[in-house]
Symmetry: C2
Subunit: 264 residues, 2 copies
């Protein structure tokens, strides 16, 4: 790993500008076959947030390299690539992170109404110690200087870029047969302390990664009746927030059931 | 579309709890074939942020239904599914959004150093009017009430869920041969005004979607030399932020080049 200073210097090498580029080469075979397209949808629709099914089997380096590379090829605002990845395998570091989780989890319990509290306490919400790989995906908001193309008006765009990296990794992991669980019940500073992350870096996601005994057919919270999956048609608006479906919108609504793998 | 009140009532139907669920069925064929896995990586590595290559060709309803369904199957914190989707096709609405972009773009120009300013002005940063479909992906932070499993300590988790929906849609769109461009140069309130979005709803992403004449081989900002792609190995940390690679880390670093489609 290069020290952060050298990395930033590399990123700041911006001698050339957008419009002065030579003609850019184009993708020679842009079309996906029906089978390839189906595989992408399969990854999207069979991906799960895994909590309790991790196996101790080691993850081969070439597999981990592929899913990390997938994350690194996420879109980023102004091509700033604000992410870093902390690969955690050391049991003592996992223990520290686990303690940070336990503390926040105990606090979270008290936020739920009394009737739900006992249930919340029993939920399996993470696999920090069981998963062979833990991964913290961060966002360096200062990378490439203060003014970033596309981040001039919505400051969160750099955080969103790091989230895109997480979702790329998640789908790649599913295709590799790896389960991924996103743990978010932490005080951000406690997670920083456990991993030695500087104050100016935002920990965006803490992921548990490993092979699994099985993937569930449906999200656990859906199967348990915690919340139903919302009907997509109820979430669609047309031209404006209060816009009703016109003929084009009605035609689109009529195709939603066919597109749903649980119904189509 | 159901009125928001009815939708929230549906989402709040939480009679059952996580641990009281019946045994959940598991995915019967969890493995991806080598071809399926390659297709997922192909979508990840050939996806582009498209600005200038949109064709006016209509997007069939079944295709739009599939990519929206992919978005709706993103992970969400506590399964809250905080997203809504505004499908924009009306030219007058696109014009309003375009005006909001133009205003912010003119402001952004002034934020760049003088030397870069003229270049920034010439950048093609959106395809609002050219793309047949525009899509605003939002986040309703109040959906399912104030206490959400997994959002007790990091408030942004609901916004991150909506970003995961964007990335799912982007990859599905690539597999369908559709280009997607994320436009982020807006005052959030101006975008709300143009689309009639209530104050409490966060517009997370404004996407231009359509078939394209071609996809570029590399991201435009990379090809133009605006910024280089960072070396993934420089972004990897081991066990702690300041952690050096041990034997396991070194073995992982050695596999990165093989995993990179531009090198492997």
């Amino acid at each position: 790993m290069q020290p952060p200073g050298r990395r930033l210097a590399t990123a700041r090498r911006q001698g050339e500008y957008f419009m002065s580029s030579p003609a850019q080469s184009i993708q020679t075979n842009p079309q996906f076959s029906a089978e390839e397209r189906a595989a992408v949808y399969r990854a999207i629709h069979t991906r799960r947030d895994v909590r309790g099914q991790f196996l101790p089997d080691p993850v081969p380096d070439e597999v981990l390299a592929r899913v990390l590379t997938a994350a690194h090829h996420a879109p980023s605002v102004g091509f700033m690539q604000p992410w870093d990845f902390i690969v955690v395998r050391a049991p003592e570091v996992k223990q520290k992170v686990n303690q940070a989780f336990r503390l926040a989890h105990a606090e979270a319990e008290l936020m739920f109404e009394e009737g739900k509290r006992a249930t919340y306490r029993k939920l399996k919400l993470e696999g920090i110690l069981e998963a062979p790989i833990n991964l913290c995906v961060t966002c360096d908001r200062r990378r490439n200087g203060p003014v970033v193309v596309g981040r001039t008006h919505i400051a969160a765009m750099d955080l969103y870029s790091s989230v895109c990296a997480v979702q790329n990794l998640w789908l790649a992991a599913r295709a590799e047969g790896l389960g991924v669980g996103w743990v978010s019940i932490f005080h951000q500073q406690a997670l920083r302390d456990a991993l030695g992350i500087p104050r100016e870096i935002i920990p965006v996601a803490y992921l548990c990664i490993g092979y699994v005994s099985h993937f569930y057919d449906r999200p656990e919270l859906e199967a348990a009746g915690w919340l139903p999956r919302l009907a997509l048609g109820e979430l669609l608006h047309f031209d404006r927030w209060q816009g009703e479906a016109d003929a084009a919108g009605t035609a689109l609504l009529a195709r939603l059931d066919d597109a749903d793998p649980a119904r189509g």
